[in-house]
Protein backbone atom coordinates (compact mmCIF):
# COMPACT_ATOMS: atom_id res chain seq x y z
CA UNK A 1 0.00 0.00 0.00
CA UNK A 2 2.70 2.61 0.86
CA UNK A 3 4.33 1.62 -2.43
CA UNK A 4 1.14 2.54 -4.30
CA UNK A 5 0.77 5.87 -2.50
CA UNK A 6 4.40 6.65 -3.29
CA UNK A 7 3.79 5.87 -6.97
CA UNK A 8 0.68 8.08 -7.09
CA UNK A 9 2.53 10.90 -5.32
CA UNK A 10 5.32 10.70 -7.91
CA UNK A 11 2.85 10.73 -10.80
CA UNK A 12 1.00 13.73 -9.39
CA UNK A 13 4.27 15.58 -8.80
CA UNK A 14 5.30 14.91 -12.39
CA UNK A 15 1.95 16.11 -13.75
CA UNK A 16 2.03 19.27 -11.66
CA UNK A 17 5.64 20.11 -12.44
CA UNK A 18 5.85 19.10 -16.11
CA UNK A 19 2.38 20.17 -17.26
CA UNK A 20 1.61 23.15 -15.08
CA UNK A 21 5.08 24.49 -14.36
CA UNK A 22 6.94 23.68 -17.57
CA UNK A 23 4.52 23.50 -20.50
CA UNK A 24 1.68 25.80 -19.44
CA UNK A 25 3.93 28.81 -18.69
CA UNK A 26 5.36 28.30 -22.18
CA UNK A 27 2.00 29.42 -23.58
CA UNK A 28 2.14 33.00 -22.25
CA UNK A 29 5.87 33.07 -22.91
CA UNK A 30 5.34 32.15 -26.55
CA UNK A 31 2.59 34.79 -26.81
CA UNK A 32 5.09 37.32 -25.47
CA UNK A 33 7.77 36.12 -27.88
CA UNK A 34 5.27 36.28 -30.72
CA UNK A 35 4.46 39.91 -29.97
CA UNK A 36 8.03 41.05 -29.38
CA UNK A 37 9.54 39.13 -32.30
CA UNK A 38 6.85 40.27 -34.73
CA UNK A 39 7.35 43.83 -33.51
CA UNK A 40 11.08 43.64 -34.12
CA UNK A 41 10.52 42.15 -37.57
CA UNK A 42 8.22 45.05 -38.42
CA UNK A 43 10.59 47.72 -37.03
CA UNK A 44 8.40 48.31 -33.98
CA UNK A 45 8.99 47.98 -30.24
CA UNK A 46 6.23 45.71 -28.98
CA UNK A 47 5.04 45.36 -25.40
CA UNK A 48 7.96 46.48 -23.22
CA UNK A 49 6.23 48.38 -20.40
CA UNK A 50 4.34 46.02 -18.14
CA UNK A 51 6.56 45.06 -15.26
CA UNK A 52 6.50 45.43 -11.49
CA UNK A 53 4.60 48.66 -10.80
CA UNK A 54 6.70 49.97 -7.92
CA UNK A 55 5.44 53.52 -8.49
CA UNK A 56 2.04 52.40 -7.21
CA UNK A 57 3.72 51.63 -3.88
CA UNK A 58 5.38 55.03 -3.76
CA UNK A 59 8.77 54.17 -5.24
CA UNK A 60 10.51 56.31 -7.82
CA UNK A 61 10.91 53.83 -10.65
CA UNK A 62 9.09 50.86 -12.19
CA UNK A 63 10.81 47.64 -13.15
CA UNK A 64 9.85 47.07 -16.77
CA UNK A 65 11.45 43.61 -17.11
CA UNK A 66 11.24 44.00 -20.91
CA UNK A 67 7.46 43.71 -20.61
CA UNK A 68 7.61 40.08 -19.52
CA UNK A 69 4.58 40.57 -17.24
CA UNK A 70 2.44 41.56 -20.24
CA UNK A 71 0.93 38.05 -20.74
CA UNK A 72 -0.22 38.05 -17.10
CA UNK A 73 -1.86 41.42 -17.60
CA UNK A 74 -3.54 40.11 -20.77
CA UNK A 75 -4.79 37.03 -18.96
CA UNK A 76 -6.11 39.12 -16.11
CA UNK A 77 -7.89 41.37 -18.55
CA UNK A 78 -9.56 38.39 -20.23
CA UNK A 79 -10.63 37.05 -16.80
CA UNK A 80 -12.26 40.33 -15.89
CA UNK A 81 -14.14 40.77 -19.17
CA UNK A 82 -17.81 40.01 -19.44
CA UNK A 83 -18.38 36.39 -20.41
CA UNK A 84 -21.13 36.94 -22.93
CA UNK A 85 -23.16 34.05 -24.34
CA UNK A 86 -25.23 35.11 -27.34
CA UNK A 87 -28.89 34.09 -27.25
CA UNK A 88 -28.78 32.18 -30.54
CA UNK A 89 -26.07 29.65 -29.70
CA UNK A 90 -26.45 25.98 -28.79
CA UNK A 91 -25.48 26.30 -25.16
CA UNK A 92 -24.13 22.88 -24.25
CA UNK A 93 -21.77 22.59 -27.21
CA UNK A 94 -20.90 26.26 -27.05
CA UNK A 95 -19.67 25.78 -23.50
CA UNK A 96 -17.91 22.51 -24.24
CA UNK A 97 -15.96 23.62 -27.31
CA UNK A 98 -13.24 25.78 -25.65
CA UNK A 99 -12.36 23.01 -23.21
CA UNK A 100 -12.21 20.51 -26.06
CA UNK A 101 -9.46 22.53 -27.76
CA UNK A 102 -7.28 23.02 -24.67
CA UNK A 103 -7.53 19.65 -22.98
CA UNK A 104 -6.21 17.42 -25.83
CA UNK A 105 -3.23 19.71 -26.30
CA UNK A 106 -2.36 19.45 -22.61
CA UNK A 107 -2.99 15.69 -22.43
CA UNK A 108 -0.42 15.03 -25.15
CA UNK A 109 2.23 16.51 -22.88
CA UNK A 110 2.28 13.27 -20.93
CA UNK A 111 4.26 11.21 -23.46
CA UNK A 112 6.93 13.81 -24.25
CA UNK A 113 10.27 12.96 -22.63
CA UNK A 114 11.62 16.14 -21.08
CA UNK A 115 14.98 14.86 -19.97
CA UNK A 116 17.06 11.84 -19.13
CA UNK A 117 16.20 9.98 -15.90
CA UNK A 118 16.94 11.69 -12.60
CA UNK A 119 18.08 9.61 -9.69
CA UNK A 120 17.80 10.42 -5.97
CA UNK A 121 18.76 8.02 -3.14
CA UNK A 122 19.04 5.17 -5.60
CA UNK A 123 15.51 5.77 -6.89
CA UNK A 124 15.52 6.50 -10.63
CA UNK A 125 12.69 8.42 -12.19
CA UNK A 126 12.14 9.17 -15.87
CA UNK A 127 11.30 12.76 -16.77
CA UNK A 128 8.16 11.75 -18.63
CA UNK A 129 4.67 11.61 -17.14
CA UNK A 130 3.56 8.42 -18.89
CA UNK A 131 6.26 6.28 -20.48
CA UNK A 132 3.90 4.84 -23.09
CA UNK A 133 5.09 2.38 -25.71
CA UNK A 134 2.83 3.99 -28.33
CA UNK A 135 4.02 7.60 -27.91
CA UNK A 136 3.47 9.17 -31.34
CA UNK A 137 0.25 7.23 -31.94
CA UNK A 138 -1.11 8.48 -28.63
CA UNK A 139 -0.17 12.05 -29.54
CA UNK A 140 -1.88 11.82 -32.92
CA UNK A 141 -5.02 10.21 -31.59
CA UNK A 142 -5.46 12.70 -28.78
CA UNK A 143 -4.29 15.79 -30.63
CA UNK A 144 -6.70 15.15 -33.47
CA UNK A 145 -9.54 15.38 -30.93
CA UNK A 146 -8.99 19.11 -30.77
CA UNK A 147 -10.62 19.37 -34.19
CA UNK A 148 -13.88 18.59 -32.39
CA UNK A 149 -13.47 21.69 -30.28
CA UNK A 150 -13.05 23.91 -33.30
CA UNK A 151 -15.83 22.24 -35.29
CA UNK A 152 -18.25 22.35 -32.38
CA UNK A 153 -17.37 25.98 -31.71
CA UNK A 154 -18.10 26.84 -35.32
CA UNK A 155 -21.33 24.88 -35.48
CA UNK A 156 -22.75 25.77 -32.05
CA UNK A 157 -22.15 29.49 -32.59
CA UNK A 158 -25.06 29.26 -35.04
CA UNK A 159 -23.75 32.04 -37.22
CA UNK A 160 -22.27 31.81 -40.67
CA UNK A 161 -18.66 32.97 -40.30
CA UNK A 162 -17.82 30.70 -37.37
CA UNK A 163 -19.53 27.88 -39.21
CA UNK A 164 -17.39 28.32 -42.31
CA UNK A 165 -14.33 28.55 -40.07
CA UNK A 166 -15.25 25.30 -38.35
CA UNK A 167 -15.86 23.48 -41.63
CA UNK A 168 -12.56 24.67 -43.05
CA UNK A 169 -10.74 23.59 -39.96
CA UNK A 170 -12.25 20.12 -40.08
CA UNK A 171 -11.32 19.63 -43.71
CA UNK A 172 -7.83 20.98 -43.15
CA UNK A 173 -7.05 18.95 -40.07
CA UNK A 174 -8.34 15.70 -41.52
CA UNK A 175 -6.37 16.23 -44.74
CA UNK A 176 -3.13 16.95 -42.99
CA UNK A 177 -3.51 14.19 -40.42
CA UNK A 178 -2.81 11.68 -43.21
CA UNK A 179 0.42 13.35 -44.27
CA UNK A 180 1.35 13.76 -40.61
CA UNK A 181 0.92 10.09 -39.83
CA UNK A 182 2.58 8.82 -43.00
CA UNK A 183 5.56 11.13 -42.77
CA UNK A 184 6.86 9.73 -39.47
CA UNK A 185 6.59 6.07 -40.51
CA UNK A 186 10.19 6.16 -41.85
CA UNK A 187 11.37 7.45 -38.48
CA UNK A 188 9.54 4.73 -36.59
CA UNK A 189 10.86 2.13 -39.03
CA UNK A 190 14.40 3.33 -38.49
CA UNK A 191 14.20 3.12 -34.70
CA UNK A 192 11.93 0.09 -34.63
CA UNK A 193 10.24 1.55 -31.58
CA UNK A 194 7.24 3.71 -30.73
CA UNK A 195 8.43 4.70 -27.28
CA UNK A 196 9.54 8.33 -27.42
CA UNK A 197 11.96 7.93 -24.50
CA UNK A 198 13.74 5.10 -26.32
CA UNK A 199 13.81 7.08 -29.55
CA UNK A 200 15.48 10.01 -27.82
CA UNK A 201 17.91 7.73 -26.00
CA UNK A 202 18.90 6.19 -29.34
CA UNK A 203 19.41 9.66 -30.82
CA UNK A 204 21.56 10.65 -27.85
CA UNK A 205 23.69 7.53 -28.32
CA UNK A 206 23.97 7.42 -32.11
CA UNK A 207 23.39 10.97 -33.36
CA UNK A 208 20.25 12.97 -33.98
CA UNK A 209 18.18 11.97 -36.96
CA UNK A 210 19.01 15.17 -38.81
CA UNK A 211 22.54 15.49 -37.42
CA UNK A 212 24.09 12.00 -37.37
CA UNK A 213 27.67 12.99 -36.63
CA UNK A 214 28.64 10.88 -33.60
CA UNK A 215 28.26 7.48 -31.97
CA UNK A 216 29.16 5.32 -34.98
CA UNK A 217 29.46 1.57 -34.45
CA UNK A 218 28.92 -1.68 -36.37
CA UNK A 219 25.12 -1.48 -36.22
CA UNK A 220 25.01 2.25 -36.84
CA UNK A 221 27.60 2.95 -39.54
CA UNK A 222 28.16 6.49 -40.67
CA UNK A 223 27.23 5.58 -44.27
CA UNK A 224 23.90 4.04 -43.32
CA UNK A 225 23.01 7.03 -41.17
CA UNK A 226 24.02 9.42 -43.93
CA UNK A 227 21.88 7.48 -46.43
CA UNK A 228 18.92 7.60 -44.10
CA UNK A 229 19.38 11.35 -43.75
CA UNK A 230 17.57 11.93 -47.05
CA UNK A 231 14.26 10.23 -46.20
CA UNK A 232 14.58 11.73 -42.72
CA UNK A 233 14.91 15.23 -44.15
CA UNK A 234 11.88 14.70 -46.40
CA UNK A 235 9.93 13.35 -43.44
CA UNK A 236 11.02 16.32 -41.33
CA UNK A 237 9.85 18.77 -43.99
CA UNK A 238 6.46 17.13 -44.46
CA UNK A 239 5.98 16.62 -40.73
CA UNK A 240 6.86 20.22 -39.85
CA UNK A 241 4.60 21.71 -42.50
CA UNK A 242 1.78 19.37 -41.53
CA UNK A 243 2.20 20.43 -37.90
CA UNK A 244 1.81 24.03 -39.06
CA UNK A 245 -1.45 23.06 -40.74
CA UNK A 246 -2.54 20.94 -37.80
CA UNK A 247 -2.07 23.74 -35.28
CA UNK A 248 -3.77 26.29 -37.57
CA UNK A 249 -0.66 28.43 -37.64
CA UNK A 250 -0.09 31.20 -40.06
CA UNK A 251 0.51 29.96 -43.57
CA UNK A 252 -2.51 27.70 -43.02
CA UNK A 253 -4.65 29.61 -40.52
CA UNK A 254 -7.71 29.54 -42.73
CA UNK A 255 -10.15 28.63 -39.91
CA UNK A 256 -9.69 32.07 -38.42
CA UNK A 257 -8.70 34.00 -41.49
CA UNK A 258 -9.60 37.53 -40.33
CA UNK A 259 -9.93 39.07 -43.74
CA UNK A 260 -12.60 36.59 -44.81
CA UNK A 261 -14.24 35.21 -41.70
CA UNK A 262 -14.19 38.03 -39.12
CA UNK A 263 -12.68 35.95 -36.28
CA UNK A 264 -13.34 32.46 -37.66
CA UNK A 265 -14.64 29.82 -35.31
CA UNK A 266 -14.24 31.97 -32.19
CA UNK A 267 -16.13 35.01 -33.50
CA UNK A 268 -18.94 34.57 -30.98
CA UNK A 269 -16.70 33.88 -28.00
CA UNK A 270 -15.59 36.36 -25.40
CA UNK A 271 -13.63 36.54 -22.16
CA UNK A 272 -12.09 33.36 -20.79
CA UNK A 273 -13.73 31.15 -23.42
CA UNK A 274 -11.88 33.04 -26.11
CA UNK A 275 -8.74 32.83 -24.01
CA UNK A 276 -9.14 29.03 -23.93
CA UNK A 277 -9.09 28.89 -27.73
CA UNK A 278 -6.09 31.14 -27.73
CA UNK A 279 -4.33 28.97 -25.16
CA UNK A 280 -5.27 25.82 -27.03
CA UNK A 281 -3.71 27.16 -30.21
CA UNK A 282 -0.46 28.04 -28.50
CA UNK A 283 -0.40 24.84 -26.44
CA UNK A 284 -0.81 22.87 -29.67
CA UNK A 285 2.10 24.82 -31.10
CA UNK A 286 4.27 24.02 -28.08
CA UNK A 287 3.37 20.31 -28.25
CA UNK A 288 3.93 20.23 -32.01
CA UNK A 289 7.39 21.72 -31.60
CA UNK A 290 8.13 19.30 -28.76
CA UNK A 291 7.18 16.37 -30.99
CA UNK A 292 9.30 17.60 -33.90
CA UNK A 293 12.27 18.09 -31.60
CA UNK A 294 11.78 14.69 -29.99
CA UNK A 295 11.55 12.82 -33.27
CA UNK A 296 14.04 14.65 -35.48
CA UNK A 297 16.26 16.96 -33.46
CA UNK A 298 17.35 14.75 -30.62
CA UNK A 299 14.83 15.69 -27.92
CA UNK A 300 16.64 16.46 -24.66
CA UNK A 301 19.97 15.29 -26.05
CA UNK A 302 22.81 17.81 -25.99
CA UNK A 303 24.57 15.91 -28.74
CA UNK A 304 28.17 15.27 -29.82
CA UNK A 305 28.49 12.42 -27.34
CA UNK A 306 28.17 14.66 -24.29
CA UNK A 307 24.97 13.05 -23.03
CA UNK A 308 26.49 10.02 -21.35
CA UNK A 309 28.89 12.29 -19.47
CA UNK A 310 26.11 14.68 -18.43
CA UNK A 311 24.02 11.76 -17.13
CA UNK A 312 26.95 10.77 -14.88
CA UNK A 313 27.04 14.13 -13.08
CA UNK A 314 26.00 13.82 -9.46
CA UNK A 315 26.26 15.40 -6.04
CA UNK A 316 26.30 12.52 -3.58
CA UNK A 317 23.27 10.42 -4.38
CA UNK A 318 21.58 13.02 -6.54
CA UNK A 319 22.13 12.50 -10.28
CA UNK A 320 21.04 15.83 -11.75
CA UNK A 321 22.04 15.30 -15.41
CA UNK A 322 18.34 15.07 -16.26
CA UNK A 323 17.82 18.67 -15.22
CA UNK A 324 20.55 19.83 -17.61
CA UNK A 325 18.84 17.79 -20.33
CA UNK A 326 15.55 19.43 -19.39
CA UNK A 327 17.18 22.82 -19.88
CA UNK A 328 18.53 21.69 -23.25
CA UNK A 329 15.07 20.50 -24.28
CA UNK A 330 13.48 23.81 -23.27
CA UNK A 331 16.13 25.75 -25.21
CA UNK A 332 15.41 23.73 -28.33
CA UNK A 333 11.68 24.13 -27.74
CA UNK A 334 11.88 27.91 -27.48
CA UNK A 335 14.14 27.99 -30.52
CA UNK A 336 11.58 26.06 -32.51
CA UNK A 337 8.74 28.25 -31.25
CA UNK A 338 10.71 31.25 -32.50
CA UNK A 339 10.93 29.50 -35.86
CA UNK A 340 7.14 29.04 -35.81
CA UNK A 341 6.78 32.77 -35.17
CA UNK A 342 9.27 33.68 -37.88
CA UNK A 343 7.26 31.61 -40.36
CA UNK A 344 4.05 33.28 -39.27
CA UNK A 345 5.38 36.75 -39.97
CA UNK A 346 7.11 35.81 -43.20
CA UNK A 347 4.83 33.56 -45.22
CA UNK A 348 1.51 34.92 -46.50
CA UNK A 349 -1.66 32.89 -46.04
CA UNK A 350 -2.42 30.14 -48.54
CA UNK A 351 -5.59 30.08 -50.56
CA UNK A 352 -7.97 27.31 -49.57
CA UNK A 353 -7.66 25.25 -52.75
CA UNK A 354 -3.87 25.60 -52.63
CA UNK A 355 -3.92 24.27 -49.10
CA UNK A 356 -6.01 21.25 -50.07
CA UNK A 357 -3.88 20.58 -53.13
CA UNK A 358 -0.70 20.79 -51.10
CA UNK A 359 -2.10 18.33 -48.58
CA UNK A 360 -3.64 15.74 -50.89
CA UNK A 361 -1.61 15.96 -54.09
CA UNK A 362 1.86 16.83 -52.84
CA UNK A 363 2.39 15.76 -49.23
CA UNK A 364 0.28 12.61 -49.22
CA UNK A 365 2.11 11.17 -52.24
CA UNK A 366 5.50 12.43 -51.13
CA UNK A 367 5.07 10.87 -47.68
CA UNK A 368 3.93 7.58 -49.23
CA UNK A 369 6.90 7.37 -51.59
CA UNK A 370 9.18 8.40 -48.74
CA UNK A 371 8.00 5.39 -46.72
CA UNK A 372 9.18 3.02 -49.47
CA UNK A 373 12.41 4.93 -49.99
CA UNK A 374 13.15 4.67 -46.26
CA UNK A 375 12.22 0.99 -46.25
CA UNK A 376 14.64 0.34 -49.09
CA UNK A 377 17.44 2.17 -47.31
CA UNK A 378 16.78 0.51 -43.95
CA UNK A 379 16.58 -2.96 -45.49
CA UNK A 380 19.51 -2.49 -47.89
CA UNK A 381 22.24 -4.15 -45.76
CA UNK A 382 20.26 -7.43 -45.65
CA UNK A 383 19.32 -7.44 -49.34
CA UNK A 384 21.19 -8.60 -52.45
CA UNK A 385 22.50 -6.01 -54.86
CA UNK A 386 20.07 -6.98 -57.64
CA UNK A 387 17.04 -6.65 -55.40
CA UNK A 388 18.19 -3.21 -54.25
CA UNK A 389 18.62 -2.19 -57.89
CA UNK A 390 15.17 -3.47 -58.85
CA UNK A 391 13.63 -1.72 -55.85
CA UNK A 392 15.32 1.57 -56.70
CA UNK A 393 14.19 1.37 -60.33
CA UNK A 394 10.63 0.56 -59.27
CA UNK A 395 10.66 3.48 -56.85
CA UNK A 396 11.85 5.87 -59.56
CA UNK A 397 9.16 4.60 -61.96
CA UNK A 398 6.41 4.95 -59.34
CA UNK A 399 7.61 8.45 -58.42
CA UNK A 400 7.66 9.51 -62.06
CA UNK A 401 4.19 8.04 -62.56
CA UNK A 402 2.80 9.89 -59.54
CA UNK A 403 4.30 13.19 -60.70
CA UNK A 404 2.92 12.58 -64.18
CA UNK A 405 -0.58 11.84 -62.85
CA UNK A 406 -0.47 14.92 -60.64
CA UNK A 407 0.55 17.02 -63.63
CA UNK A 408 -2.07 15.62 -65.99
CA UNK A 409 -4.88 15.86 -63.49
CA UNK A 410 -4.01 19.48 -62.81
CA UNK A 411 -6.86 21.70 -63.93
CA UNK A 412 -5.74 24.05 -66.68
CA UNK A 413 -7.35 27.49 -66.41
CA UNK A 414 -9.86 28.14 -69.19
CA UNK A 415 -8.72 30.66 -71.75
CA UNK A 416 -10.86 33.76 -71.58
CA UNK A 417 -12.73 34.48 -74.80
CA UNK A 418 -12.34 37.94 -76.22
Amino acid sequence: MPELIFQIAIIITKIVILTFMVVLPLVPVSVYFERRFSAVIQDRVGPNRVGIPLTLLGFKKDFHLFGLIQPIADGLKLFLKEDFTPAHVRKAFYWMAPALTVVPALITVCVVPFGSPISIFGHTEKLVIADLDIGPLFVFSVASLSVYGITLAGWSSNSKFPFIGGVRSTAQMISYEIALGLSIIPVLMYYGDLNLSTIVQQQADHGWLLLPLWGHDADHTFISKLLFWFPAAIAFLIFTISIFAETNRMPFDLPECETELVGGYHTEYSSMKFAMFFMGEYAAMVIGSALIITLFLGGWSIGFGADAWVSQLHIGDFYFGGLIHLGCFMTKLIGFILFFILVRWTVPRFRYDQLMKLGWVVFFEAALINVFLAALIVAAPQLEKTIIGVGAVLLVIVTAAVIWVAKVSEETPKVLRA
Binding site: F37, V40, I41, D43, R44, T346, V347, P413, L416, A418
Partner: protein, 188 residues
Protein backbone atom coordinates in the same frame (compact mmCIF):
# COMPACT_ATOMS: atom_id res chain seq x y z
CA UNK B 1 -15.18 48.82 -73.60
CA UNK B 2 -12.79 46.44 -75.18
CA UNK B 3 -12.09 43.23 -73.34
CA UNK B 4 -8.45 42.93 -72.36
CA UNK B 5 -7.10 39.41 -72.38
CA UNK B 6 -4.74 38.84 -69.51
CA UNK B 7 -2.31 35.97 -69.57
CA UNK B 8 -1.29 34.56 -66.25
CA UNK B 9 2.48 34.74 -65.89
CA UNK B 10 4.26 31.47 -66.67
CA UNK B 11 6.12 30.28 -63.60
CA UNK B 12 9.33 28.39 -63.98
CA UNK B 13 10.17 25.34 -61.88
CA UNK B 14 11.92 27.29 -59.12
CA UNK B 15 8.98 29.63 -58.71
CA UNK B 16 6.51 26.75 -58.72
CA UNK B 17 8.30 24.88 -55.99
CA UNK B 18 8.03 27.99 -53.80
CA UNK B 19 10.95 27.20 -51.51
CA UNK B 20 13.33 29.79 -52.91
CA UNK B 21 10.83 32.52 -52.18
CA UNK B 22 10.36 31.17 -48.65
CA UNK B 23 14.07 31.27 -47.90
CA UNK B 24 14.28 34.74 -49.39
CA UNK B 25 11.40 35.78 -47.15
CA UNK B 26 13.13 34.43 -44.06
CA UNK B 27 16.24 36.40 -44.92
CA UNK B 28 14.16 39.54 -45.44
CA UNK B 29 12.35 39.31 -42.12
CA UNK B 30 15.51 38.36 -40.22
CA UNK B 31 17.37 41.30 -41.78
CA UNK B 32 14.62 43.59 -40.54
CA UNK B 33 14.74 42.00 -37.08
CA UNK B 34 18.52 42.34 -36.76
CA UNK B 35 18.49 45.88 -38.10
CA UNK B 36 15.77 47.04 -35.76
CA UNK B 37 17.51 45.41 -32.78
CA UNK B 38 20.65 47.36 -33.66
CA UNK B 39 18.63 50.55 -34.11
CA UNK B 40 19.63 50.74 -37.76
CA UNK B 41 16.22 50.34 -39.40
CA UNK B 42 15.51 52.36 -42.50
CA UNK B 43 14.29 55.78 -41.35
CA UNK B 44 15.35 55.31 -37.73
CA UNK B 45 17.43 58.49 -37.83
CA UNK B 46 14.93 60.91 -39.27
CA UNK B 47 12.16 59.50 -37.09
CA UNK B 48 14.37 59.92 -34.01
CA UNK B 49 13.88 56.30 -32.97
CA UNK B 50 14.47 55.05 -29.45
CA UNK B 51 17.03 52.54 -30.71
CA UNK B 52 14.54 49.72 -31.28
CA UNK B 53 12.88 49.79 -34.67
CA UNK B 54 11.79 53.22 -35.83
CA UNK B 55 9.55 53.94 -32.85
CA UNK B 56 9.95 56.90 -30.52
CA UNK B 57 8.92 55.83 -27.01
CA UNK B 58 6.55 58.42 -25.68
CA UNK B 59 6.84 59.47 -22.06
CA UNK B 60 10.65 59.51 -22.15
CA UNK B 61 10.94 60.89 -25.65
CA UNK B 62 8.77 63.72 -26.95
CA UNK B 63 8.28 64.80 -30.53
CA UNK B 64 8.11 68.49 -29.53
CA UNK B 65 11.22 69.48 -31.53
CA UNK B 66 9.93 67.52 -34.49
CA UNK B 67 6.57 69.30 -34.65
CA UNK B 68 6.03 70.87 -38.04
CA UNK B 69 5.54 74.65 -38.41
CA UNK B 70 1.89 74.15 -39.35
CA UNK B 71 1.04 71.90 -36.39
CA UNK B 72 -2.39 72.59 -34.91
CA UNK B 73 -2.47 72.07 -31.16
CA UNK B 74 -4.75 73.46 -28.49
CA UNK B 75 -6.68 76.69 -29.34
CA UNK B 76 -5.75 79.53 -26.97
CA UNK B 77 -6.42 83.21 -26.39
CA UNK B 78 -3.61 85.78 -26.60
CA UNK B 79 -2.99 89.25 -25.15
CA UNK B 80 -1.24 92.02 -27.05
CA UNK B 81 1.95 93.87 -26.10
CA UNK B 82 0.05 96.21 -23.75
CA UNK B 83 -1.35 93.30 -21.81
CA UNK B 84 -4.82 93.91 -23.21
CA UNK B 85 -6.92 90.94 -24.10
CA UNK B 86 -7.51 90.98 -27.80
CA UNK B 87 -10.84 89.18 -27.78
CA UNK B 88 -13.79 91.55 -28.18
CA UNK B 89 -16.33 88.74 -27.75
CA UNK B 90 -17.83 89.05 -31.19
CA UNK B 91 -18.68 85.32 -30.86
CA UNK B 92 -17.76 84.52 -34.46
CA UNK B 93 -15.60 81.62 -33.28
CA UNK B 94 -18.47 80.34 -31.18
CA UNK B 95 -20.72 80.34 -34.22
CA UNK B 96 -18.25 78.81 -36.65
CA UNK B 97 -17.00 76.09 -34.31
CA UNK B 98 -18.11 72.85 -35.99
CA UNK B 99 -18.37 70.72 -32.83
CA UNK B 100 -19.71 73.66 -30.76
CA UNK B 101 -16.81 73.48 -28.33
CA UNK B 102 -16.58 77.22 -27.61
CA UNK B 103 -18.86 79.03 -25.15
CA UNK B 104 -18.56 82.80 -24.70
CA UNK B 105 -20.40 85.07 -22.24
CA UNK B 106 -19.87 88.63 -23.55
CA UNK B 107 -19.80 91.66 -21.33
CA UNK B 108 -19.38 95.42 -21.64
CA UNK B 109 -16.17 97.27 -20.71
CA UNK B 110 -17.03 99.80 -17.98
CA UNK B 111 -16.75 103.51 -18.90
CA UNK B 112 -13.89 104.21 -16.47
CA UNK B 113 -11.63 101.65 -18.19
CA UNK B 114 -8.86 103.09 -20.43
CA UNK B 115 -9.92 100.67 -23.15
CA UNK B 116 -13.54 101.73 -23.03
CA UNK B 117 -13.61 102.39 -26.77
CA UNK B 118 -13.16 98.64 -27.38
CA UNK B 119 -16.68 98.35 -25.91
CA UNK B 120 -16.84 94.56 -25.32
CA UNK B 121 -14.78 91.82 -23.76
CA UNK B 122 -15.55 88.23 -22.83
CA UNK B 123 -16.71 87.71 -19.28
CA UNK B 124 -16.31 83.98 -19.68
CA UNK B 125 -14.58 82.10 -22.49
CA UNK B 126 -14.62 78.34 -22.36
CA UNK B 127 -13.31 75.77 -24.83
CA UNK B 128 -14.35 72.22 -24.18
CA UNK B 129 -11.28 70.21 -25.18
CA UNK B 130 -13.29 67.00 -25.32
CA UNK B 131 -15.35 68.47 -28.14
CA UNK B 132 -12.58 70.42 -29.89
CA UNK B 133 -11.45 68.84 -33.15
CA UNK B 134 -8.42 71.11 -33.68
CA UNK B 135 -9.74 72.29 -37.05
CA UNK B 136 -8.47 75.85 -36.62
CA UNK B 137 -11.62 77.53 -37.91
CA UNK B 138 -11.77 79.76 -34.81
CA UNK B 139 -8.29 81.03 -35.63
CA UNK B 140 -9.26 81.61 -39.23
CA UNK B 141 -12.48 83.48 -38.48
CA UNK B 142 -11.24 85.73 -35.68
CA UNK B 143 -11.23 89.38 -36.89
CA UNK B 144 -9.13 90.55 -33.92
CA UNK B 145 -6.46 87.85 -34.18
CA UNK B 146 -7.14 86.89 -30.61
CA UNK B 147 -7.44 83.12 -30.85
CA UNK B 148 -4.55 80.94 -31.99
CA UNK B 149 -3.84 77.26 -32.21
CA UNK B 150 -0.67 76.61 -30.25
CA UNK B 151 1.52 73.51 -30.28
CA UNK B 152 0.24 72.06 -27.02
CA UNK B 153 -1.01 68.53 -27.61
CA UNK B 154 -1.02 66.89 -24.19
CA UNK B 155 -4.47 67.93 -23.02
CA UNK B 156 -5.36 65.52 -20.24
CA UNK B 157 -7.65 65.46 -17.24
CA UNK B 158 -9.17 63.09 -14.76
CA UNK B 159 -12.71 64.51 -15.02
CA UNK B 160 -14.79 66.04 -17.77
CA UNK B 161 -14.60 69.35 -15.90
CA UNK B 162 -10.78 69.23 -16.15
CA UNK B 163 -11.03 69.19 -19.89
CA UNK B 164 -12.87 72.49 -20.15
CA UNK B 165 -10.36 75.31 -20.59
CA UNK B 166 -11.63 78.51 -18.98
CA UNK B 167 -10.45 82.02 -19.74
CA UNK B 168 -7.61 82.00 -17.25
CA UNK B 169 -6.21 78.74 -18.58
CA UNK B 170 -6.57 79.87 -22.19
CA UNK B 171 -4.56 83.05 -21.57
CA UNK B 172 -2.01 81.06 -19.59
CA UNK B 173 -1.32 78.73 -22.51
CA UNK B 174 -1.68 81.44 -25.15
CA UNK B 175 0.66 84.06 -23.70
CA UNK B 176 1.38 87.34 -25.42
CA UNK B 177 1.57 88.21 -29.08
CA UNK B 178 3.59 91.38 -29.58
CA UNK B 179 3.07 93.82 -32.42
CA UNK B 180 0.77 93.59 -35.35
CA UNK B 181 0.43 89.92 -36.07
CA UNK B 182 -0.48 89.07 -39.59
CA UNK B 183 -1.66 85.55 -39.24
CA UNK B 184 -1.50 84.74 -42.92
CA UNK B 185 2.24 85.20 -43.25
CA UNK B 186 4.88 82.64 -42.38
CA UNK B 187 5.39 83.96 -38.87
CA UNK B 188 1.80 83.08 -38.07
Amino acid sequence: MAVVKLQRPKLNFGEKIYFGALIKGFFLTMTHAVKSLRGKSVGADELASSGLGVTMQFPEQRWDEHLPEYYRGAPTLVTDEQGRERCVSCQLCEFICPPKAIKIVPSEIPSDDPWVKVEKRPLEFEIDMIRCIYCGMCEEVCPEQAIYLRKDYLITGLKRADMVHDKKKLYEIGGTRAGLVNKWNELK
